[in-house]
Every structure is written in C-alpha cells, then in structure tokens.
C-alpha cells in the first residue's frame, strides 16, 4: 500500500492544493503531543494513512485550528456523535489531501452537559454536520452560527438517535 500511495502521489497531486513537505503519521503525532501535551491521548495508527487520537473537549477548537494551519488538514470529512454508557463521543474525521492522511479525532462529553466547541469557524463544511448531530443526538455546539434542527421539524421534541428514544406511534 505504501508504495502504491507514493507512486500516484507523484503524478496526481501536482496540480492539487499545493506542494508541501511530507508529513508522516509520526510527525502528526509528535506535533499534536508537543502542542497539547495534557489533552491528547491514545494515539494509534489504524492502517496506512489512518490515525486515531483522543482529545479533551477543552482543547478541541485549538487543536483543530492547529491541525488546519500547521499540519495541513484542510478537509473535514465527517462528524459523528455516538452515545455510550454514561458519555457521548463526538468523532471528527479530518483529512489532509496534501499528505493523504485521515485522522479520527475523538472527544468525550458527559451526559448531563453534552456540549463541545463548534469547529464550523475552522472548516465551513462542519456547519451542517454539527446541526445534524445536534438534531439527532442532542449535542450542543458552543459558538455555532445557527444551531437549529436541520432534518427534523423545528417543533420536534426528541433527539431520536439517543438510545432511550423509543420509536413507534
């Protein structure tokens, strides 16, 4: 996989976003740890080009700005909210096109205060996805420009992806 990746990068990315020096998985890890030593944990390489890290929600916005500006993660792929026993997790899949990396950034928020900082000012593509997470899972995103329901009607009372929501009539 490594070898294939490199070959097509040479021919494919010339006209793309712009050249930059190669950032490897270890470099991302070290840079994140150096900048946020207290809050970044559980760094793991899942497979070639796919990484995972956990971050405390206090540093989420700062880490996202750092990822975009210093490490070249310019694209937010997906924001998913997952409910676990006693906590919510918000999973950000952030991609770097220059360096062909995908980072799975997980942040945790307690059940009695499900809120994290909005990253829609960092990546505009996060705007609607955060509204969706608010709509279906009830996570509040601080400083979001327009945190309203998006898929369900405005007067709907529940957050249906929570496990205590029962369907039916």
């Amino acid at each position: 996989m490594e070898e294939r990746g490199k070959r097509s990068s040479a021919e494919g990315m010339e006209s793309a976003v712009g050249g930059a020096d190669d950032v490897s998985e270890e470099k991302v890890f070290r840079a994140l740890l150096d900048s946020f030593p207290a809050t970044v944990t559980d760094f793991k390489k899942l497979r070639a080009g796919v990484l995972r890290a956990r971050i405390d929600r206090r540093d989420l916005h700062g880490a996202c700005v750092f990822l975009r500006d210093s490490l070249g993660f310019e694209h937010i792929s997906m924001i998913s909210a997952v409910e676990y026993e006693g906590r919510f997790e918000v999973v950000y899949h952030v991609a770097s096109w220059k360096h062909r990396l995908l980072l799975e950034l997980i942040t945790t928020t307690p059940k009695d205060d499900p809120s994290v900082d909005s990253v829609s000012s960092v990546w505009g593509g996060a705007n609607w996805q955060e509204r969706e997470a608010y709509d279906l899972m009830g996570i509040r995103f601080n400083n979001h420009p327009k945190l309203e329901r998006i898929l369900l009607p405005k007067d709907y009372l529940y957050h249906p992806l929570r496990k205590d929501f029962k369907g039916g009539d």
């Binding site: 996989m1 006209s15 310019e74 997906m78 899949h93 505009g124 898929l151 369907g167």
Partner: protein, 357 residues
C-alpha cells in the same frame, strides 16, 4: 423578497426547498432547506442485523444504489476483518463503474431538461438503459440491486457478461462524443453554463465540497487515486479535472469521468481472475469501529459503524456528499440571477435520498 423554490418545483429533483432572497432579479442571499425525506435510516439500521442492512443502504440513493451498498459492505468488512476474494473485488469495481456511468447519464438527462434541451434527456435516458440492463443481468433488479455481500458479492457474473460489457463501453464512448456535439453545439446550453455558478478553490475546500464539483475547481482529488480501496491501485486511469470552477466545468468533469469509467470497466473485465466470489462473514461483529470511504458519483461517501459484539450495529453513521455540498450552495448562488439557479443547482447532481437519509 424571499422566494421559495421548492419543495415542489421542477428545479429541485426531489423534495427540498431553496429559499432565495432577491433584489430585483439578483440573488443576494440563499438558504437551502432539507429534511423532507428523512426516513431515519441510521436509526433503522440499529435494529437490523448486518446482512439485513444491505438492502436498506441501497435505498440511500436510487440513482447510484450500488455504490452505497458497496460502501456499507466495505465498512462492515473493515469492522469484522473479512478479506474479500480478488475476483469479487474486480466484479465490484466493474459494477460500481457501470453504476457511475448510469448515475452520470441520469444527471445528464435531468440537466438537459433543466436547460431546455429535451432531446438530450431522451437520448441520455435511453443510453442509461444499456447499463441498467447490464446491472440487471448481474443482480436481477434494475435500480436497487442488493448485490454486494459482506465478504464478496451475491453471485458470479452471468454468461456473456464480458462480451456485453465491452460492447456497452464501445457503444457509450461513441454516444458520448455525439452528446458533446449536441450539448456544446447548443448555444443556449453554453450561454447558461459558461461562467455561471463560480466557486473558488479555497471556498470549495473549506466548505467540504467533494466529487465532481470539487474537481471542477481545479483540485485533483479523487479518492480512488488518493486513498485507494478495493483493486483501484491495479487499474490505470486518470481523474477528471477542470480548472474553471463554473457549471460548464462540472459538466465537463462528469463527461470525462464517464470515458475513464469505460477504461476501468475494460481493465476490470480483462484482469478478473478465476476463483471464489464470496467468503462467509461472521454473524456477529467484534467490539470496535469500522470506517469506509469511497468516491461516490456525487463525492466522498463515508460510513462509520460501531460494533458491540452482537449481530446488530450499535451505531451507524453515513456521510452524504450532497448534504455537505448543498450547504455550500449559497456561495455559488449569490450574485447570479434567479434564472441561473436551475443551472447551478442542477450542476450539483442533487440526490435527496442520501441527503436526508
């Protein structure tokens, strides 16, 4: 003055609403509104077994259902650690490229009627049938195929499938050249396309636009090349890119992509090895997460499944490319006339099934 274009409007291609604020005829603000077709697919999937979900993911988008069930199977395989036989991978690649051509032809047909070229609609819809027939021979149904399986595909290719696929590729390549003459020879089509709906490269990247609208901004980014999955690394093709960033560039990118898809189908058919096309997948998934990421005809499709050791997923999240792309629509619309809305939104290839889920 705010105008509602939708939820019942010939421009919308599905149930959604575009609110535009106009000053005279010029658009000064826009608000897309979605959610009319929300079926709660992510919640439905939490109550179904892994196998039962395959036909549900087909219903995410009727225009390219095979890419979605393929993406679901990729994600479930990542979660369960299943290795797919090589023959199945080549069958999948050939099938999803046929699906890509069928999806782009449907877009081309709809786009032609949007811009007053009824002849284009009839021709493109007729030629789409060629690929629908091939996929029907492969899977047994016309639009929602239920063909990929976790660990391979449902059955082997039918007799004469190689011959029919190669014929279809040769046929469509000739027809595409005729379409180019027909569309680009039409002055109305060109006047409503060139220089309309400009999107800057930086905006496209920041707003999360993917797929043909992104490559039409001059960004050479195609997940089949950049983060290869399945057997795409073995196949020689070039992603279609156009620098202009307007509606014409989006049209051009999709046309070029169809030529490339023909190349991919030919190679996949020729390189297809003999052997098994399916392995048995476990019934229960382990505790953990699986992630899949593919280049859908409309952009970057992505799924994230959390398994909890049972035969049903604990949580399944779908990333729809059009859901994110349409949130960038105001950036393309503001400053143009109301009459340009049809060209701009038509050029995005909206699919409401996957947007609302």
């Amino acid at each position: 003055m705010w105008i509602n274009m939708g939820p019942q409007h010939p421009m919308t291609h599905g149930l959604w609403n575009l609110r535009v604020k106009v000053d005279g005829e010029t658009i000064v603000d826009a608000q897309p509104e979605v959610g009319y077709l929300h079926r709660g697919i992510e919640k439905i999937c939490e109550g179904r077994t892994y196998t039962q979900i395959i036909p549900i993911t087909d219903r995410l988008c009727y225009g390219s259902s095979l890419t979605w069930s393929h993406l679901y199977c990729l994600t479930a395989e990542d979660l369960m650690g299943v290795e797919v036989p090589e023959r199945a991978e080549y069958i999948r690649v050939a099938a999803i490229e046929m699906q890509r051509i069928a999806s782009h032809l449907m877009w081309l047909a709809a786009y032609a009627t949007d811009l007053g070229l009824m002849l284009g609609f009839l021709h493109a819809m007729r030629d789409r049938e060629v690929f629908i027939d091939l996929l029907q021979a492969l899977s047994g149904s016309r639009l929602t195929y239920n063909y990929p399986r976790i660990g391979g595909v449902a059955h082997d290719i039918p007799p004469n499938f190689e011959r029919d696929s190669l014929r279809a590729c040769a046929y469509i390549e000739n027809r595409l050249r005729e379409y180019e003459d027909l569309y680009e020879g039409s002055r109305v089509f060109m006047m409503r396309n060139v220089g309309v709906g400009l999107l800057k490269k930086e905006d496209a990247i920041n707003l999360g636009v993917t797929g043909p609208p992104l490559r039409a901004c001059g960004v050479n980014y195609d997940l089949r090349k950049e983060m290869p999955y399945s057997v795409y690394p073995e196949i020689d093709f070039q992603p279609a890119v156009h620098p202009a960033g307007d509606c014409y560039a989006r049209y051009r990118v999709r046309m070029d992509e169809m030529y490339e898809s023909c190349k991919i189908i030919r190679q996949a058919i020729q390189k297809m090895p003999k052997g098994k096309w399916r392995v048995v997948a476990p019934r229960n998934a382990p505790v953990g997460t699986g992630m899949g990421r593919v280049e859908d005809p409309r952009g970057e499709g992505m799924m994230y499944i959390v398994g909890d050791g049972t035969d049903k997923p604990y949580r399944m999240k779908v990333r729809s490319p059009i859901f994110v792309t349409v949130s960038a629509a105001p950036r393309m619309l503001i400053g143009y006339k109301v009459a340009d809305v049809v060209a701009i939104m038509g050029g995005l290839d909206m699919c409401i099934g996957e947007t609302d889920r």
